[in-house]
């Protein structure tokens, strides 16, 4: 099993599927849908194989030897001259406890949104080709350990996402799609610049003793690999590390999206088809927080610590601003979109606490937010497919008409509020415990708890307006859920309940890695701080 390149398979399988789809005649819609479903199910199976084979005691994070399922090949190798060093780029994949939950999440969400995509009947071939390309991009970001490769996967998602929103979206789809595209590209050019800067500041020692510049992310985490004069080297007194940190942080923050870079999100969500909203909320947003955790935290630990208060503050702003805005929405989907901003704030807050509790809470919250919000968007999709409206005030009393659907909705809403017994509670509790335990952001943590209250407020209020009360006469013909919708909502519900009751399943997975990260932050931050 050791030699089977499972990460390559799980990442590149969708591209393979895309190529096959391009050769299927476009009238064979069933075959195209079937193939996509097959590929995403294989991805789920592969992700379960990865979970089963994952060694809980290996930390990863900054230690190349304890990453798992490593695949490393020389990809580009260009001999150097006197004036230009050897250029070496590796195809380097590997996972640790921080990426493994997200890989599982990506596989599950891709599978479920494939099911949700079955209702698409406009240009089916193009849709699923783009969908699979997107899938590869998402998976690739979480497994890449070479910065160049990471960036390629990161950018690979933009174009499919633009088309998926722009062709299959709602009435204002063109505006939403280009807004998404421009925002994200703006973010990623800053990331690119930081990558080049890091490349010129880090050297890796090869087996024959020569030193070459490297895109290896793990080498970039070790201060010993930095050159004396590199512009992002801590040894260079005139370094630009602070600016590079900000560049990377803004690039990732746009994806989260963090206030004030969030304005693309409501547009994108409202216009995107249900399946794409699910992917967007379920996986894409996680890339932002994953990037900050994987890259900003480990490559710039001293600046992370310096700015930690602001990261926490922006987390709190996200929580409260998102919740307040959600409360004011009339459109059901927009409400969920803003609630998503609010919930991503918890991830930022948890990350800012710099201790095991908080960071575990943040990673767990990434996973839980992925499942819960995916479920919420599916729920919006179910009702929109039937009623063709999302106006919250236009409903009422659906609980009588669609009892099973209302049951699932209640579960998802309660999970989003953070009711004990459901997964959302655990991660939010961890985030608050963690951030409360870190003295300098304690005040922010206390203020953020207001978000929970507000969250309960808008969620329960929405529940009341749509599902309780007197049944609106218009909707007496609405049927309850069908088989496909069960197939989408049941697995997510099971995950939500299971992790609510037994969170250790996920926490144990990431525990060693989170501990290594916390330890790394406290130690190397000190080291780097002393250079300055």
């Amino acid at each position: 099993m050791a030699s089977f390149p499972i990460l390559s398979w799980i990442t590149l399988l969708p591209i393979l599927g895309m190529v096959i789809i391009l050769f299927i005649p476009k009238t064979q819609e069933k075959a195209i849908k079937g193939l996509t479903l097959l590929i995403t199910s294989v991805q789920v199976i592969l992700s379960i194989v990865i979970l089963a084979g994952f060694n809980y005691s290996k930390g990863g994070v900054f230690d190349a030897s304890s990453f798992q399922f490593i695949e490393k090949f020389r990809w580009i190798d260009i001999e150097g001259f006197s004036w230009i060093g050897r250029i070496k780029i590796d195809y380097y994949l590997g996972i640790d406890g921080i990426s493994v939950p997200l890989i599982f999440l990506t596989a599950i969400i891709s599978f479920i949104s494939t099911l949700s995509s079955f209702s698409i009947n406009k240009s089916v071939k193009g849709y699923f080709a783009m969908f699979l390309l997107l899938d590869t991009g998402m998976m690739g970001v979480f497994v890449a350990l070479d910065f160049f490769l990471f960036y390629i996967f990161w950018e690979l998602m933009l174009l499919p996402m633009y088309f998926l929103i722009g062709i299959w979206g709602g009435p204002r789809r063109e505006y939403a799609a280009i807004k998404f595209f421009l925002y994200t590209l703006l973010g990623s050019v800053f990331i690119l610049l930081a990558i080049i800067g890091l490349y010129f500041s880090t050297q890796e020692t090869l087996a024959d003793g020569t030193k070459v510049f490297t895109f290896n992310m793990i080498s970039m985490m070790d201060p010993a690999n930095y050159t004396a004069t590199g512009i992002l080297s801590p040894f260079n007194p005139n370094n630009l590390r602070f600016i590079a940190f900000l560049g990377l942080f803004i690039g990732f923050a746009i994806k989260i999206p963090m206030f004030p870079f969030h304005t693309w999100l409501p547009d994108a969500h409202v216009e995107a088809p249900t399946a794409i909203s699910v992917i967007l909320a379920g996986v894409l947003l996680k890339m932002g927080t994953y990037g900050i955790l994987r890259i900003n935290y480990t490559m710039f630990p001293e600046i992370t610590k310096q700015l930690i208060w602001y990261i926490a503050l922006f987390g709190a702003i996200n929580i409260i601003y998102g919740a307040l805005t959600a409360m004011a929405q009339k459109d059901f989907k927009k409400l969920i979109a803003y609630s998503s901003i609010s919930h991503m704030g918890f991830v930022l807050l948890g990350m800012a606490s710099l201790n095991t509790l908080g960071i575990s809470g943040a990673v767990l919250q990434m996973f839980n937010h992925g499942t819960i919000t995916a479920m919420l968007f599916l729920i919006v999709g179910v009702i929109y497919d039937r009623a063709h409206t999302r106006d919250i005030d236009g409903f009422g009393g659906l609980g009588v008409q669609m009892p099973i659907y209302t049951g699932f909705t209640t579960l998802a809403f309660f999970a989003a509020i953070g009711l004990p017994g459901l997964s959302g509670f655990i991660s939010e509790a961890f985030v608050f415990l963690g951030s409360f335990g870190f003295e300098s952001i304690r005040v922010i943590a206390i203020i953020s708890t207001l978000g929970i209250l507000l969250g309960a407020g808008y969620m329960l209020w929405t529940l009341q307006r749509i599902y309780l009360g007197k049944l609106n006469e218009k909707w007496t013909q609405l049927p309850d859920m069908d088989f496909r919708e069960y197939a989408m909502l049941v697995p997510l519900s099971l995950i939500i309940i299971f992790l609510g009751v037994y969170p250790s399943a996920m926490l144990d997975l990431m525990n060693t890695s989170v501990n290594s990260m916390v330890q790394f932050l406290s130690e190397s931050g000190k080291f780097l701080g002393s250079i300055k």
């Binding site: 580009i76 260009i78 004036w83 390629i152 690979l156 174009l159 690119l192 610049l193 630009l240």
Partner: protein, 505 residues
Amino acid sequence: MEAPLKYIFDSIQFLKPEITVSLFLVILVTVDLILGKKNKQILPYISLAGLLITGFFVIQQFETSAFASVQNNIGNFGLIAVDSFGNYFKLIIILSSIFIILFSISSIEIKQAFDRHGEYYSLIFGMILGMMLMVSSVDLILIYLSIELVSLSSYVLAGFTKHSLRNSEASLKYIIYGSAASGIMLFGISILYGIMGTTNIYAINTVLQNGAFQPLALIISCILIFTGFGFKISAAPFHFWTPDVYEGAPIAITAYLSIASKAAGFALLIRFIKITFIQAIGSDGYWQLLEVIDWKSFLIIISIGTMTLGNFAALWQDNLKRMLAYSSIAHAGYMILGLAVFSDQGIMAILIYFMVYLFMNLGAFFVVMLIANRIGSEEIDDYDGLGYKTPLLAVSLGVFLVSLTGLPPTAGFIGKLYLFIALVDAKMIVVAIIALLNTVVSLYYYVRVLKHMFLAKPKSEEGKIAIGYADTVVLMALLIPVFVFGLYFTPIVNLAKNSIALLGF
């Protein structure tokens, strides 16, 4: 043997490519005369054969490093420098010429002027000869002559399809602007000759090293000479002809101007600045220029102006050809940055960028031409719903435009990556940020075409646009490198790395 004659005969071995081109120019004219009014289909194939032979000679002498047409009275410097840098650009010129001739075979605009095919291909060969001399000449007189040869051929080619009003307008504007630019340049050359006493740029370098010159006159003459170069590479503020000429000229010629003549202009500019003003090259690849003119600031300002103007003007264009004209101005702006770094890394970045740019820009123009062949329009609004009528063409155009934006995994990303690597290595961070923000702006207008092709509904339900077998092959020859070089760029970087050597430096 008499000395002048000896130098001419000694040079023949280095001038095989140029001689081949001249020979085929004569062959084309002769064959055209013999054939009379029929059987002119054979002309493009003769041209292709000529280009392949020329290409062979260029590759054969790739590593050569020598002067041709030596004049012993000025310290054994020649008129022409044969070196790998020049040969790299000759390859780019030949490669793009091959594609242009393939384009011309399937272009309806060109087909309509069937009886003048002989002139068309001989003019192209005249232009090739001019460009090949441009990339290798080191004497101001020859520089001027080669620029004129290229310009005169391209004035006629730009107005080749006579019956279109737009076409004649383009040609006339080109002539007026071009002659003004070359007049100014000639004036600059004469001043430079006046203060240096020589027209050979190697000899001028020697004079400058000794420090015996009048600084003000030198600066004025260099700025005047830059006008001529700036005109050829369409750098702001010498770009005004570009949009009109690009829009009016036949598409094949527009594509040609945007690659080959621009490449020749860049090669000349780089050679002129490096050879004339160089003092030494450090082992880290950075050049030390003589501190007589602040070329760095000058080029950075020109470059930022060019890219910003190109990108912002492109935002408002409704004609795809015109938009691509502004986009090509913007790309020239990025490439000038590569020179402004004044290092071998920067030159390598330009070389990589040009090779990549050749495929993606020619590809974009080729698709525009194929579509214009059918729908008779280049207006972006007429592209509505094209993605559903002709998926292959629309997707290919999409890939070329994404590559022009510089997104991975296309080759355009590699071009930009190396440029930014050179900039960051030279610690020109602010300039790099400005260029990157420009890239974001450019995304908007490139994606706008995608929007019309895929997001908008077709205006009419007319049938599909089918393309022929030969056109598909040419399209693939442009499309596949855009992907392959995006993911595996070792060959292109290796070639560029081995081609930065200018004769003597």
